[in-house]
């Protein structure tokens, strides 16, 4: 297994922490992982992204050019990464904010109104977790339990009360794409 993931959106949408959770969960499962952020001025309000590699082997290059999965949370991220997803890969779109539709036929396209659904859960900030839930259900890169375990480690004590809503969001995303 070699998953090369790009997660992109506005700063503040939680794209960096999504990536860190996947990497953390992969590490807990004994997999090879790396997390590489875009950094610099683009963090401040522009488009931020991170590349995550999860592999059964130790990670070679942490750089991802043609992701097996791209998760895009806003329009600029869609524009940038939609063409880069490798044939046969997955493009996950936060269709609450992304207004364009992909016309690629060689990739799987998942559209979720994540921001709206998160608002329905009472916290628009967990849109990232809805997408993450859907992502792990689709790809089985890491288990949901590992993500929750990672949440406990990544969130500081005083934010542990947020674990519940994050769990709800994860499960929401998971149920949306559950196939069998």
């Amino acid at each position: 297994m070699l998953e090369e993931i790009i997660i992109a959106g506005f700063g503040g949408q939680g794209v960096m922490s999504m990536g860190q959770l996947i990497a953390y969960a992969g590490m807990l499962e004994g997999k090879g992982v790396s997390w590489l952020p875009s950094y610099g001025p683009e963090q401040r309000g522009g488009t931020a992204n991170c590349a995550v590699v999860v592999s059964d082997e130790p990670v070679g290059s942490p750089l991802v050019t043609n992701p097996s999965t791209a998760i895009v949370l806003n329009n600029p991220s869609f524009e940038k990464f939609e063409p880069l997803v490798r044939p046969g890969g997955i493009l996950m779109i936060n269709s609450s904010l992304v207004t364009r539709a992909s016309n690629r036929s060689d990739i799987e396209i998942i559209e979720l109104t994540a921001t709206d659904m998160a608002a329905d859960l009472g916290n628009a900030k967990v849109a990232n977790m809805i997408l993450l839930g859907a992502f792990i259900e689709l790809t089985k890169v890491v288990s949901c339990d590992s993500i929750i375990e990672s949440l406990k480690k990544v969130l500081s004590e005083e934010k542990h009360h947020l674990i519940e809503v994050n769990k709800q969001a994860l499960n929401k995303g998971l149920s949306l794409v559950k196939t069998a």
């Binding site: 860190q20 590490m27 790396s34 997390w35 590489l36 950094y39 990670v59 070679g60 290059s61 942490p62």
Partner: protein, 360 residues
């Protein structure tokens, strides 16, 4: 302690603390600022001291002062700030003071940008400041390797009384990977009987200086330094080879670029092109041995760098005309992709493979 997920910059800092570095003088600059911030938080926990200096120039000179007292001390910066430290680094060499200086390289020249680069290779391996000197330079490719090499860097510094440079790029500094901080290896190190801590209790007064007004005396002193550099060349070469045994072509890359190159090599191997890799870990002393061992066997070498072609000069010196030496590089903070490197392999090796297949 088990595995933890950390940023490269933080790994350098933690590894330094675990290597017994209690003093850090720094100045913020992207993309190494996390290292400074980590030290500010961490050093008080071990009874050490972090001080934010007013400039990189001040920071390296604070390091000079602290190093003179015999403690393990570090500073870090990124390219523009590292340039500012050059004067102080030359003084550290001249006065024979141990210290570790980190350079998380970014795009240049000038203010450049904050994206990953390796374009300070010349600066770190060919002296950098004024005077005749070389500094051991270690270039880790993974976060786990940072742990090992940071520890090594402090030992080398103490063993030879020299500054040691730990060089990474913005990518290495910013990325996260699982790391494990195991038991540190301790090596036998000479006593610091040259440190200036006041004469009470330790005999006659000591002087730390690089000044030698008499030309003959300075030449003698320089000869001693050169002898030391020769010992370092003898003992401190580090490199790794990957699939070079049957290789027709050998890639040469260091740091993060070596990892991307390894992916390209895997792809080329799948296509039946026999490619290997030499990964210098010590950039100075540059590993000549793996070239001497392969240069009469392989068809050529390809140096891949995030620069306009700097390490390739050392590759050419090591190969010394015995084989073709090619180069692929990206500059300005652009990271070469696996696909680009693969295409370069094809353009160099693919041609001869075609020739081979068609020759009877």
């Amino acid at each position: 302690m088990g595995k933890v997920l950390m940023k490269g910059n933080e790994v350098i800092a933690e590894a330094a603390v675990q290597a017994g570095c209690k003093y850090f003088f720094g100045y913020p600059i992207t993309p190494q600022s996390e290292l400074v911030a980590y030290m500010a938080r961490r050093l008080p926990e071990v009874g050490g001291l972090f001080l934010q200096a007013e400039s990189e120039i001040a920071a390296i000179n604070m390091v000079y002062g602290a190093a003179g007292t015999g403690v393990r001390v570090m500073t870090s910066s990124s390219s523009p700030g590292f340039s500012l430290k050059q004067e102080g680094i030359s003084y550290l060499v001249g006065s024979e003071l141990p210290a570790v200086v980190v350079n998380i390289v970014r795009g240049g020249p000038g203010l450049g940008n904050i994206q990953p680069a390796q374009s300070d290779y010349f600066q770190v391996t060919k002296g950098g400041g004024h005077g005749d000197y070389n500094i051991p330079v270690l270039a880790p490719a993974s976060l786990q390797e940072i742990v090992e090499l940071t520890n090594e860097a402090f030992d080398i510094a103490d063993r030879y009384r020299t500054p040691v440079i730990l060089m990474g790029d913005g990518m290495l500094g910013q990325m996260m990977e699982p790391v494990e901080f195991g038991e540190r290896t301790h090596s036998e190190l000479p006593e610091k009987n040259w440190a200036t801590t006041g004469t009470r209790g330790d005999g006659p007064r000591r002087i730390i200086t690089s000044l030698e007004l008499n030309a003959q005396s300075l030449e003698t002193r320089n000869a001693a330094l050169q002898k030391k550099f020769a010992r370092i060349k003898e003992n401190e070469v580090r490199y790794e080879t990957y699939q070079t045994d049957d290789a027709d072509y050998i890639m040469v890359a260091f740091g993060t670029v070596a990892r991307i190159t390894m992916n390209a090599i895997s792809k080329a191997r799948q296509e039946g092109i026999k490619v290997g890799l030499i990964r210098p870990i010590s950039l100075w002393p540059f590993p000549e041995k793996p070239f001497l061992e392969t240069r009469d066997v392989v068809k050529g070498y390809i140096s891949v760098e995030m620069s306009a072609g700097q390490m390739v000069e050392d590759v050419r010196l090591a190969v010394n005309g015995h084989a073709e030496v090619d180069f692929y590089g990206r500059t300005g903070g652009v990271v070469p992709t696996q696909e680009e490197i693969y295409q370069k392999i094809l353009s160099v090796a693919g041609g001869s493979r075609y020739e081979h297949e068609n020759s009877f």
